[in-house]
């Protein structure tokens, strides 16, 4: 900046004014400065600026996801970026990999970079460790799961209601022997989905004890094996609800291997690419990651802009998408 000022023959403050589009500079000087900055290929240093600027914004935020490569996460990422880029805000994205230690380390890394806010998918048992920053007025929005041990904004899917809708759908098609295949109940969303599913069955007079419940399924292979085992039992279920994508894939594999895809009904939680191209198409409870991302971005911006209302949880409704697998009749 000094160089630009020297070349243009003006004071350093005038260059600052021009680069920041501040008023109070004659058009002639403006042009001179602009030309000098072009010639020297000058770029304002945002970090140096925010060091001195009142308010001290860096125009960057931190985003913590299970994995940036996870399709659900990356759609949220995209929606956030679209909303924030209009304000010139850049996004640091990082992956957690179910590792609570990483959660804390990455939050610290974001803090060290003085982000203006954070969007987090919590995995540690408690998020109380960020209380000092949060109360120090660093905007934070939690997504997918509500935080524990701290009051903050959250944007989540209606997990229990969505799972209940899956249950009602299967009941409506005449099923009474059902199975629930789920992720580990350590995860709040998995617990909610199980609860919603089983409660809906209970209301229909189907005792929980007659439902095959398999949990702790974290990948395709464990889900596939669990499905094979349950389907080989004495009284196999006529319909399956899978609470998560990888679990759905595992169940699909097992059904295909047993040539049972058209005999056993299946509803999966979470939509996925090509679900309609399967045979039969896979009926799902779809989440709306783009809406979650957009809403989280809007809440974060509101907080950055000074909104100090009480923290709230925003619920994004899920949606039943009928494609065939969930409408198969009971086979016994």
């Amino acid at each position: 900046m000094r160089h630009v000022a020297a070349l243009a023959g003006v004071g350093i403050k005038t260059v600052s004014r021009v680069m920041n589009d501040e008023p109070g500079v004659s058009e002639a000087t403006r042009q001179r400065v602009l030309q000098a900055s072009q010639q020297l290929n000058y770029q304002l240093d945002m970090a140096a600026g925010s060091l001195r600027r009142s308010g001290r914004q860096t125009l960057s935020i931190g985003l913590l996801l299970p994995s940036v490569a996870n399709p659900f996460s990356s759609e949220i990422h995209r929606a956030l970026e679209d909303t924030l880029s209009e304000r010139g805000i850049a996004v640091f994205a990082a992956s957690l990999d179910d590792n609570p230690e990483r959660e804390k380390a990455l939050v610290a890394a974001f803090l060290g970079r003085r982000v203006d806010g954070m969007v987090l998918t919590p995995i540690a048992r408690s998020q109380a460790y960020v209380i000092p920053e949060h109360s120090r007025d660093l905007p934070m929005v939690f997504i997918d799961r509500e935080p524990v041990g701290i009051e903050a904004d959250a944007v989540v899917t209606d997990n229990a209601a969505g799972a209940a809708r899956a249950a009602a759908h299967l009941l409506g098609h005449g099923h009474t022997r059902l199975a629930y295949f789920g992720d580990t109940p350590d995860i709040q969303t998995a617990r909610e989905r199980r609860r919603g599913f089983l409660e809906q069955l209970g209301q229909a007079g189907i005792p929980t004890s007659t439902v095959s419940v398999r949990e702790g399924l974290r990948d395709v292979e464990s889900a596939r094996l669990a499905a094979r085992a349950v389907l080989a039992s004495d009284e196999p279920p006529t319909a399956i609800f899978s609470s998560q994508n990888l679990v759905t894939f595992g169940v699909m594999r097992a059904l295909k291997e047993l040539d049972a895809s058209r005999r056993v009904a299946l509803v999966g939680f979470d939509d996925f690419a090509l679900a309609d191209m399967m045979d039969p198409g896979i009926t799902v409870i779809a989440q709306h990651p783009e809406r979650i991302g957009r809403l989280a971005a809007e809440r974060l911006l509101a907080r950055i802009d000074g909104d100090d209302g009480a923290p709230r949880t925003y619920v994004v409704p899920s949606e039943l998408i009928v494609r065939g697998s969930g409408e198969l009749p009971p086979s016994y």
Copy 2:
């Protein structure tokens, strides 16, 4: 930092030493400083540090992708992150959406944030506009496509060789009436794939004029319609090569609608989730985004660490994955 120094009763420089794990501080003072910093919930300001530090690294890099939500891109993103996070480097990710204007704007945004380097998927006609920064020694690695108008490192898939392998595979299964379905030839990778495919056919004595070539297919729907048209022609192809995921999906849809999935052979460029669950499984030329990402990260780190060898293009080989659709015999 001043506050911490005051509370611990030491000089400011001593706090700096402790926070940066520099030697030359007695264990006793160290503990006192550490405790004071905990008490005040102090976090080192990286931006302020790099302002003064020689070398002036910000430990952040910029990543420009077609879209962070694109599965191929987000796997590259993930591999980059894994390699870079070991060095404490954070990643700014941004989406281009095929918009050359965005490319320049986002590069400018990264420069203003003084990233230590950039990984870019080029889409503008030329990348000459970054020559000043590149020669000013800002490390840059291009991925997926080679840059135009500037000499810089690049990491790409062996597009032509992969497409040639697809051609050879179909020829080996007896096909002589083939079709090429591709993205717009504006894109370097699309051109390369077409070239590799047609050249291989030419070497086998199949004149290009007998190959149905459909290009400019940018989405599932246009590919589906193109496939339906070609398959309804007088002498329909017995085998199809699709040069990109969305095109593959469109062709798959058309084949399903015409009940021709088991009659017309198909090889797609680029792998995708559930390809093996289709009926038949879809044979593909798989790219290795995780290897592209890792290699790009390694090259970028080498450049950041001062490697000033001549720029090079690194080619990551693709791989034929046999799943059924590419091994169907000719149907005439």
